[in-house]
């Protein structure tokens, strides 16, 4: 439908389309997607060819596929955080909030756009990893078995975890508004904290399962995102994964509504 100037209205669909255009009109989106796919391909290729012969083990195949996504997961999360902080570092927030004065609408649209972008990247990464890994194990008779629960967990769970993590990162970025702090916080949360237990911080080891990486592993059913942690089960893993996203999004929303832009 053609929209005349008189009909022009601010809608969530419009705000979402605007956020997609922001992504599509900067080189970063394409660079990050490309880098994610290439790095995952390298991990997938290296891992599959360094494994011993395993026979027709479907679980081993999908576990290896899942293991190739962690680098992309961190890259996409950092990118999502930088897309949020970029509003402030570039000064773009002045016009963004002038045309979308409702902070909740703006934050939800940005989180949704980057969440969907993360899902697309995760699917690309899974496809490329599968294309590289499957032929190696196919030689030994392995296939992708969609009847297998772990296979479904990996191929559905990885995009879901990417989605929730991107929303978490947008929330963190919008909360702290500083690129340096946001990147440090995201990497700290996703990469550093899960390993802190290994360096004598026993209380952190106890909560590893409740960090985004541990919860993500429970969703996916393999050690795709971090160090070995207690398996919470798929549903509890999903709950914890989305709890991180909701808390980050909610904290950012409160901050946006209370602080000056």
């Amino acid at each position: 439908m053609k929209v005349t100037m008189a009909d022009a209205r601010l809608t969530f669909g419009g705000a979402l389309r605007s956020e997609f255009l922001k992504l599509a009109t900067l080189r970063g989106m394409w660079l990050v997607a490309g880098a994610s796919v290439v790095l995952s391909a390298i991990v997938a290729g290296t891992t599959s060819h360094s494994q011993p012969e395993v026979g027709a083990e479907a679980d081993w195949t999908v576990t290896t596929i899942a293991g190739a996504v962690v680098t992309s997961w961190v890259i996409v999360a950092v990118f999502a955080a930088l897309q949020a902080t970029g509003e402030w570092t570039s000064g773009q927030f002045r016009v963004s909030f002038a045309v979308v004065p409702r902070r909740g609408l703006w934050l939800t649209a940005k989180a949704a756009a980057l969440g969907i972008y993360a899902v697309v990247v995760s699917i690309l990464v899974l496809l490329v990893s599968t294309a590289l890994i499957l032929p190696r194990y196919a030689e030994e008779g392995a296939t992708i078995d969609w009847a297998d629960a772990l296979t479904r967990q990996v191929f559905i769970g990885v995009p879901v975890v990417f989605l929730a993590t991107a929303v978490t990162a947008v929330g963190i970025g919008s909360l702290v508004r500083s690129s340096g702090i946001a990147v440090t916080a995201v990497i700290g949360l996703l990469v550093v904290l899960p390993f802190a237990g290994l360096f004598g911080l026993s209380w952190l080891a106890d909560i590893t399962s409740y960090l985004p990486s541990g919860a993500g592993d429970s969703v996916v059913g393999s050690g795709a995102f971090g160090v070995a942690a207690e398996d919470l089960g798929v549903l509890a893993g999903l709950a914890v994964t989305f709890a991180w996203a909701i808390v980050a999004w909610g904290s950012a929303l409160v901050s946006l509504n209370l602080r000056d832009a």
Partner: protein
């Protein structure tokens, strides 16, 4: 119409805006004047919903900007020319904003043409000069064809052609019954553009009236007169209780208004060549009003040769 009522805004311990109230009516260009740090930009940011007020309210066409279903149609603002992701092209920057309200790419092309950005529309903004950035900021403000324009120092960095263009744009907008609130440090520019002035100093409103009233109040009241016999004029003025001072080729008259002077010269058969009530410029009126409100003073130093 912009309505600001008892607005107060504090940053840390500094009260940037203190119980400010004024109205920028529709159909007029309102010049928003004040020294650096007086609170102009803060007020504009609160009106546009970027900053939160401590107390008081602001509204555009009756409601806060965030309450409107179509904010871009209600108000367009230029608050800082560098409010753009530097890696994005000018056209894409405008397309991103237009998408929020379902505004067509044709309108994007229109404002690009209106602001003279055709040649650079597909270039990344990071290479823009201050003037081009300013034009893009004005294009952004006009994108929604809004009923209210808020322009903070819009002529900064513009060439003379651009300055005239902004002046005509503001006047044209107001002539269509829209509201224009414009801040500028260029008094001559405001004098040529504004119908009303709101002067703010140290966060408080110092004046809020029509431009003509504002400058008239600052005028000395003297009338410059040139006749065929200035000495005779001095005698006539003295006869009605006024004071006349002979200048090089004219007389400065105090205490008698221009109409009475004209009657006196006609009645005495003097040829009247000039009769000019002295008027203060906006700059003179502004300087007098804000003399005590300037927060950041420059000092002049003598440089040893």
């Amino acid at each position: 119409m912009i309505q600001v009522t008892n607005l107060t805004k504090t940053y840390g311990s500094k009260r940037a805006v203190d119980d400010v109230s004024f109205t920028a009516p529709a159909g007029a260009v309102t010049g928003f004047l004040g020294p650096n740090g007086a609170g102009k930009s803060t007020t504009m940011r609160v009106i546009m919903g970027l900053d939160r007020s401590d107390s008081g309210t602001t509204s555009i066409d009756g409601s806060p900007i965030s309450s409107h279903v179509n904010p871009m149609r209600v108000a367009g603002a230029l608050l800082d020319a560098k409010s753009v992701a530097p890696g994005r092209t000018a056209r894409n920057h405008l397309r991103v904003l237009a998408a929020t309200h379902g505004i067509s790419n044709r309108r994007v092309d229109q404002v690009i043409e209106m602001t003279g950005l055709d040649a650079v529309a597909n270039k990344r903004v990071k290479g823009f000069s201050l003037g081009m950035g300013q034009r893009l900021g004005i294009a952004t403000a006009m994108l929604g064809d809004p009923s209210t324009l808020i322009l903070d120092e819009p002529v900064n960095g513009l060439d003379p052609d651009g300055v005239v263009w902004v002046r005509n744009l503001a006047k044209h907008f107001a002539s269509e019954g829209r509201t224009v609130l414009l801040s500028s440090h260029l008094m001559s520019e405001v004098q040529l553009t504004a119908d009303r002035v709101v002067v703010i100093g140290r966060g408080r409103i110092l004046a809020d009236r029509s431009l003509s009233d504002f400058t008239a109040e600052a005028a000395s009241g003297a009338v410059m007169v040139k006749t065929s016999n200035n000495q005779r004029l001095v005698e006539l003025i003295g006869g009605v209780g006024g004071t006349a001072t002979v200048m090089t080729d004219s007389v400065s008259v105090d205490g008698v208004d221009a109409a009475r002077i004209a009657e006196l010269t006609v009645g005495s058969h003097l040829d009247l060549y000039e009769l000019v009530p002295s008027a203060a410029t906006l700059e003179e009126a502004y300087m007098r009003l804000t003399a005590d409100s300037v927060e950041y003073h420059a000092t002049s130093e003598e440089v040893a040769a």
